[in-house]
Symmetry: C2
Subunit: 67 residues, 2 copies
């Protein structure tokens, strides 16, 4: 299968798993909407840093909250 | 293999192939930097609309040029 795992990269560079086996990723303004192969969904206020498809890795960076 | 093909979605909804077999995608401001499994690179002024990993598809939307 060709899904990837999505991680939020913390300020210290460590990675926090958000959702495994992501099939679809949609960017909706400052929110990243992830759907895994089972239909489970996660929404995170983040921007996409990098996708490494052969490594099955999606790296997200949390958006600073404006207020 | 788990690479995907990247397309620019035109205003009429049709899709223009940018790069096949994309391994890495990095967002650098308003530019999407694509690298395929052979190391070939493309840079497009665009934003990521959707990734559909199981369908091997990356959809990009061209950024309007400000000037």
């Amino acid at each position: 299968m060709c899904e990837a795992n999505a991680y939020l990269v913390r300020e210290d560079g460590s990675e926090e798993l958000v959702l495994k086996a992501v099939d679809k990723l949609t960017i909706e303004g400052d929110t990243v909407h992830l759907v895994d192969v089972f239909g489970r969904q996660e929404r995170v206020r983040a921007r996409v840093m990098t996708l490494a498809l052969v490594d099955h890795k999606i790296l997200l960076e949390r958006m600073e909250k404006p207020q």
